[in-house]
Structure formats: C-alpha cells, structure tokens
C-alpha cells in the first residue's frame, strides 16, 4: 500500500528532481570545488582566491576614480539604482492609483522588464549616443556640447546605473500597485474623517501596509543588480578601460575568454555568496510558512 503510494509520488517528482540535480545542483557543487584549486590543478584555496581578489579588475583601490573593480561596481549599481527604482515605483503606484488609463501607463513603464537585457543595454547606448540619443537632445537644449557619458571612465558606471532605473522601475511599480489595491479604501476614509493629511496617510497607512511587498521588491532588485550582465555586455562590454566591469562579466571574461575556469569559479562563488546573503530573509520566510 505504502510502497505503491511512494511509487506514484516518485513518478511525479523524480524526473524534475533528477534534472535539477544533474544540471543545477551538481554543477554548482563542482564550481565550488573548482574555486578551491589553482589553474595548475593544485588544491590551494588561499592562492586561488587571493589571485582573483588581488586582480585589479575585481578590486582596485589605486585611485579615487573608476575603475574600482567589479565588486565595487556592482555595489555602486546597488547604491544608486536600488533606492531610486524602489521609491520611484512606489510613488508612481500611489500616483497612478486613481488615474484613468492607468493600466496603459503602467504597461508602458513595465515594458523595460519584458524586453531582453541585451536590448535594454543597446537602448541605453542608443539613448546616451552623442549625436542621435536623447541625452544629446537634452544637452543641446541646455546649450552644452553633447557628450556620451558611456565613453568616459568616470561617468560610465553611473550612467548605466541611472539608465537602468528606466528599465526596472516597472517591477517595483507593478508589485506595489497590486499590493495597493488590497488596502481597503475604508482605512483612508476613516483617516480623512479623523483629519489626517495626505502625506500623513501615505507614511502611516500606505508605507506600513506595503512594507512586506517593498521588502520583496528590494530583495529581488538587489539580486538582479548583483547578477547584471546583458545590459553591460551590450552597452559598454565592461569598458571603457574596465570602468563598467561587473562580477558576471568578469566571470565570463575569466572562464570563457581566458578559459581560466578556476578564477571564473571564484568570481561566481563570490556572486553566489552575495546573492545568498541578500536572499536569506526571503528563504527563511518561505521555510517558516
């Protein structure tokens, strides 16, 4: 009886689990092991990790100008992009709440999430192009000579991080908007009767009730910012002079341009550690439920 029940369960579950084990879990473990060996095949984690972490493409504190190295570039991306998109998406969700045709406006802003990242990167280099881009128009309007910020090491990473706000605000917007619609109108009506001002209602009703969604948006956004690849690949290729190099790009460079799998494995393990740190609260939540 029992064995038959287990057999049915196994028939449902095993094909998926075998694939997950063979293609996701096992290779991930092998990558971890690979990161402990030097390219010469000697087991020496300290030497291998040390070689990667002392590579100036990973960390570079020689000067106060970019390139700072891939790890720092990912962090810069987070510092600029995370608060901007999350807050902008939340504000827009509130602004659009009772706007007629809000579905259309929201869809337009969400398109950035639907298109391939490579296309996002190409559109960014298009926007920043000196002669034909939108940035060119703006510069001309203000009478300053147009320059492409992606061509200069000291502006490129900031230009990409700000440009990606355009791409990813839709995520924060859609999730916050979905969550907003679950807040009963009564709360606001009651607060209004009690004489609460609009900002007060925003900070004391909207923000607290959206907090759990905001947390999810933050975690997901940070994970994307850490894994960022296609945008940079297409827009700058990591240049100029490594000024926009990021972890995923550096991993590709080590592993599939130099075919140094051990260094590549270290970079992706660093990436994994950073992603895990960020996702612990979310995983813990899904376990506890």
């Amino acid at each position: 009886m029992y064995s038959r029940k287990y057999a049915t369960a196994a028939a449902f579950i095993l094909p998926a689990l075998i694939l997950i084990f063979a293609i996701d879990l096992y290779p991930a473990i092998r990558t971890l092991i690979l990161s402990l060996y030097t390219p010469e095949g000697v087991f020496d984690p300290v030497a291998n990790w040390g070689a990667v972490l002392s590579d100036r493409k990973m960390l570079n504190f020689r000067s106060w100008e970019p390139p700072y190295g891939a790890i720092i570039h990912n962090l810069i991306w987070i510092v600029i992009h995370l608060p901007t998109t999350v807050i902008l998406g939340l504000l827009l969700a509130v602004l659009f709440r009772r706007v007629k045709g809000k579905a259309v406006v929201q869809s337009i802003i969400f398109i950035g999430m639907v298109i391939p990242m490579v296309v996002g990167g190409l559109i960014m280099s298009f926007m920043f192009d000196r002669s034909i881009g939108v940035v060119g128009i703006a510069a001309r309007l203000f009478g300053t000579p147009a320059q492409n910020p992606l061509r200069y090491p000291d502006t490129a990473i900031y230009a990409l991080a700000f440009g990606s706000v355009w791409l990813w605000t839709g995520f924060s917007l859609i999730l916050h908007s979905a969550a907003l619609s679950t807040i009963p109108q009564d709360y606001y009506d009651q607060a209004r009767v009690d004489g609460a001002s609009a900002p007060r209602m925003f900070f004391q009703i909207t923000i607290p009730l959206l907090a759990s969604i905001t947390r999810v948006v933050i975690v997901m956004t940070v994970i994307w910012e850490l894994k960022i690849f296609g945008i940079v690949f297409a827009a700058t290729g990591g240049g100029p002079g490594n000024a926009t190099n990021v972890l995923a790009l550096q991993m590709y460079d080590y592993a599939f341009r130099q075919f140094n799998f051990n260094y590549g494995a270290v970079v992706t393990t660093i990436l994994l550690i950073m992603v895990l740190i960020v996702s612990i609260p979310m995983v813990r939540r899904s376990i506890s439920e």
Partner: protein
C-alpha cells in the same frame, strides 16, 4: 453599515469639489507625462528603424523636416549577410518552444507531487529547490560547458534546451505548487473513491482547473528563454546557430554603429516579448506577482 460608509464619502467630497478636481486633473496629466517620458527611448528606436540612417544621423530622429520612411533597415537586418535576424528568430523558437513545454510538464507534475503526496524529507527537498532559485546562472556554466564539450553537445540547440529546462524547473515547481496548494482537494478525493486512476484525475480534473496558472508559467518561462543571453553565449557559437538576442550586439559592428540596421533588428527581436506581454498581460502579471509574492 454600507449606507453609513456612503454618507461619509458624500459628506467629505462636496466641500472640496473644485480643489479635488484640480488635483485630479494635475495627477492625470503628471501620470500621462511620465508614461510619455518612458516611451521616448522606444519611440526613438522605432523612428530610427524606419528611416535612412543618414537622415537620422544628421538631424536626429525627432526631427521631421525630412522624413522618408522605408522598411529598408528591416530588410537589411532580416537578411543580413553575416548575422541574419531571420535565422536568429528561427533558432530562438527552436530553443524556446521545447525549453518551455518540457519544464512546464515536468515541473508541474513535480509540483503536483509535492502538493498532494506525503513522503520522507519532502520539505527538505522542496526547500532545497526553492533555494536553487537564487543560484546565479554563472554558477553552473563552467561544469556544464565541460560536460557539453565532453559529450559533443557543445554548439547544439539541445545543450541550451536541456540547460533551460532544468534552470526553469525550480521556480515552475515553486509557482505551481503554490497554485495546487490552493486548489480544493475534495473533487480529487471523491474521484479517488470512485476508483479513478491518478493519471485520469490529473488529466481530467487537475489540468482543466489549472489552465490559467499553466499559461502564466509558460508565458514567463518562454519570455525568460527568449530573452536569455548568457546560456546561448556560452553554448552556441557557430554563426548559423546564434539565437536572436545574440545577433544584436554583433549587428552593432566594431567601428561606426549603424543604428538604422541595429534598431530595426532590435525592434524585430523585441516584438515577440512585447506582443506576448500585450496579449497575455493578465497571465504575465499574475505569474510575476504569484512567483514573487505567492
């Protein structure tokens, strides 16, 4: 109770009517302006793609003093001599269709197993698959590259299809299990009592109730595979095997970017996700929200 609420609302709206109207109009205008700002890059891309590049490069795509629309850029991109987009679209479909269908079937079956059966270590195993959702793609790329090379699968569509099938599995299982957990079990239970087999129950009862969720999962998985750049970049390199998104950066060229050609190619490649989003938006958003928020 209901009446009471109504009266509060009426009471509050009347004295502020003009002010409220002004605020309302202002908010509407602001919202539409923001939407328009968001459209500018797409508009620029579209304008550049339908005009000769010389015209755009001299005057800017927003300048209409000279406007000669043509599909020449699209034809050039579609039949490009080195990296034809036509072939890329075809390759992307060959990869994305099986890499959507197979993980949806296998992943949903597993999700159903987790939702309906009890067995030892169930929660441990499921938690492990959920944790795998956080895995960066880079983490599996090196060993898989070695395996594909050893088995002769490198530079074949099968390699990318297999990898995407396994890669999509954890979140499909997670998403579908949450869905199955919410489905009422009593219909299935009474079917069991009447002696229906597990397969009959699945095909006759569960699948028809799950169509919307399955479409949501399929839409997200298809768009993910269509858009993914990293796996094809590693596993496919012969010029005739490249998928659509891989060809775009190559159209960029090395010296002077021909934005006419590149924008036309981009519009073609992006039209697939945008059309899917436009027509299946309900499913897409439900999948997105369900996947992240459960």
């Amino acid at each position: 109770m209901n009446n009471n609420k109504e009266s509060i609302r009426v009471h509050r709206v009347v004295p502020y009517r003009t002010q409220a109207l002004f605020v309302k109009v202002f908010f509407h205008l602001l919202a539409y302006v923001i939407g328009a700002i968001w459209l500018i890059p797409f508009l620029g891309l579209l304008m550049t793609s339908v005009r000769p590049f010389g015209e755009v490069a001299n005057l800017g795509w927003w300048n209409l003093s000279e406007f000669t629309p043509s599909l020449a850029n699209y034809i050039d991109a579609w039949f490009h001599t080195s990296y034809p987009i036509m072939q890329g679209m075809y390759n992307s479909l060959i990869v994305a269709l099986p890499a959507t269908a197979v993980p949806i079937v296998l992943g949903s079956a597993a999700a159903y197993g987790f939702a309906r059966f009890h067995f030892p270590l169930k929660n441990v195993v499921f938690t492990l698959t959920v944790v795998l959702m956080a895995l960066p793609a880079q983490m599996i790329a090196i060993p898989l590259f070695q395996t594909m090379e050893a088995t002769g699968l490198l530079d074949t569509f099968i390699s990318v299809i297999i990898v995407h099938t396994a890669w999509g599995m954890p979140w499909i299982m997670f998403f579908m299990r949450n869905f199955f957990d919410q489905l009422p079990k009593n219909v299935e239970e009474s079917a069991v009592i009447q002696g229906a087999s597990q397969l009959t129950i699945l095909l006759r009862i569960v699948v028809p109730m799950s169509v919307a969720a399955l479409i949501s999962a399929a839409v997200l998985q298809f768009l993910w595979v269509w858009s993914d750049f990293f796996f094809p970049l590693i596993f496919l390199f012969s010029s005739e095997k490249l998928v659509a998104v891989q060809r775009l950066p190559l159209l960029k060229g090395t010296h002077l970017v021909d934005w006419g050609l590149l924008s036309a190619g981009t519009v073609i490649v992006v039209s697939v996700p945008i059309l899917i989003f436009a027509f299946l938006q309900r499913y897409y958003v439900r999948g997105m929200v369900g996947w992240t928020l459960r």
